[in-house]
């Protein structure tokens, strides 16, 4: 005698619970569920939020202090530490996001990814949900940098609208680099190769950008690289929002980041399922 309600329910149901499926609304809902899952994990294991903040704090306090004494170029009338704050925020967000793909490889090894890919969820919802969750995590770095600036007296523009805009652009940047990272994971497939590629590209992305110095002082070839590097556009926006208070290039900055995100999501959606093949 089976007393389980499950048994009766299953016996009574002829068709599996069909998802309405296929609509944009359904994809958006799925994406939100993926984000919810990631945030719930974060709530159970919040230590990551603190560990990812250590590096930018060290950069700002040590490197920033030391180089404020060196006046190698015009920072627009602010200390070098202030000048580099948006750069360090961007760099730390990029460094963390670019290794996001490691979790994809780990989930593949664990079989978690296989389960999601065998479910009726649009691939784009999976990829974008994961990337947006990475974006939300990056807000911890924003918070730490803002706190640090407030405590140590780095004179940022404390305008609520500008700060919110900065947070938004940080999410956009994190989405791009996290998606790029998932693309790399899907191509190289193993942890070892992924770590190799990750380490290979982070430093060039960092130094071939305006994070630490203006593009104007770079040699021509580097200028070309820096101007196709999405990190530069993130830094440019943040510098405008936080340091000068003037968003002179915001359309270009946001536009480039948006296009980069859309392209990366398209490629990621195509490649992501291949990591289990």
């Amino acid at each position: 005698m089976e007393s389980d309600r499950f048994a009766t329910s299953v016996a009574a149901s002829v068709e599996p619970a069909a998802k309405s499926g296929g609509t944009v609304l359904q994809a958006l809902t799925d994406m939100l569920v993926i984000i919810e899952m990631e945030l719930r994990k974060l709530r159970h294991e919040p230590t990551e939020l603190f560990t990812r903040a250590v590096q930018p704090v060290l950069w700002l306090l040590i490197f920033g202090q030391a180089f404020s004494k060196v006046r190698a170029f015009d920072t627009g009338g602010v200390t070098y530490q202030t000048y580099m704050t948006p750069g360090i925020l961007s760099q730390s967000v990029m460094f963390t996001a670019i290794f996001f793909g490691l979790s994809t490889i780990w989930e593949r090894d664990m079989g978690i990814l296989q389960k999601f890919l065998a479910m009726p969820i649009p691939r784009a919802a999976l990829v974008l949900g994961k990337a947006l969750a990475a974006g939300v995590r990056a807000l911890s770095q924003v918070t730490i940098i803002f706190l640090l600036a407030a405590i140590t007296g780095i004179p940022l523009h404390w305008h609520p609208a500008l700060l919110s805009a900065a947070a938004g652009v940080v999410i956009l940047g994190a989405v791009f680099f996290a998606t790029l990272s998932m693309i790399i994971a899907a191509i190289v497939k193993t942890r070892e190769r992924f770590m190799g590629i990750g380490q290979l590209i982070t430093m060039p992305l960092f130094f071939a950008s305006n994070a630490l110095y203006p593009i104007s002082i770079m040699p021509d070839w580097l200028r070309v690289v820096a101007s196709v590097n999405p990190l530069s556009y993130m830094v440019d926006f943040l510098r405008g929002a936080l340091v000068t208070g003037q968003l002179t290039n915001w359309q270009a900055d946001v536009g480039v980041l948006l296009v980069a995100c859309i392209l990366a999501t398209a490629v990621g959606t195509y490649l992501y399922p291949r990591i289990v093949a």
């Binding site: 089976e2 499950f6 899952m37 664990m110 389960k115």
Partner: protein
Amino acid sequence: MEVIVEVEHLKKSFGKHIAVKGVSFNITAGEVFGLLGPNGAGKTTIVRMLTTLLLPDSGRATVCGYDVRRQAARVRQCIGYVPQALSVDGALTGYENMMIFAKLLGLKGRERERRIAELLHFMQLDDAAGRLVRTYSGGMVRRLEIGQAVLHYPRVLFLDEPTVGLDPVARRGVWEILAKLRRTSRMAILLTTHYMEEADTVCNRIGILNRGEMVVTGTPEELKALVGNPDASMDDVFTYFTGNFLDAGGDFRGIRQVRHISRRLG
């Protein structure tokens, strides 16, 4: 008999290595079909093709009447899948793992909560539902995974080596759940295993897979009759049809996978 899974001449190679060499079989509603074979026989590869994770090189497979190649999205609506590795998120509670899956499967509101409660009970996890899965035993994790996989009452459930690495007690717990599913639902179940006893106890039909080839299919009784000895063990049956000992098989990759899983289970 309603055929739920139909496989014809399915083939898959990895580079030069042919992992699945033109396999054919059917599974009907209410049936527990056991794919029995040593490590490296191609069991997981077949399951991955049927769950739309891997494209077949040639041959044809339909699940719930949908082609796995051309109607993958439809196939995903009607299947449940529990992969070989233990694959629930340890950083979520048992309830959260169920809830996220239920949402992704399109279940809403009270019906969602009803099914989650119902299945946590069925899997004997009501008491552990609020704990992080990281603290679960291997057997509990497996039961939770099966619960997740049947939330939408799929027509077919794929279980890849559901008891590998589990201790005998936990293994029997999973067998009980499967027996209960078999008694009470019309779900078709495809289960892969390299344990003879499991195939004998849980399945009502068995296909013996060896080096990517389906050597024979039939009920345990039929297979034993073919061997000419109704008291034959599954081991005898396997040796009779393959000329191999089940334990002798297995390549490095397969063994490493099993070790990996056993180690994680502690």
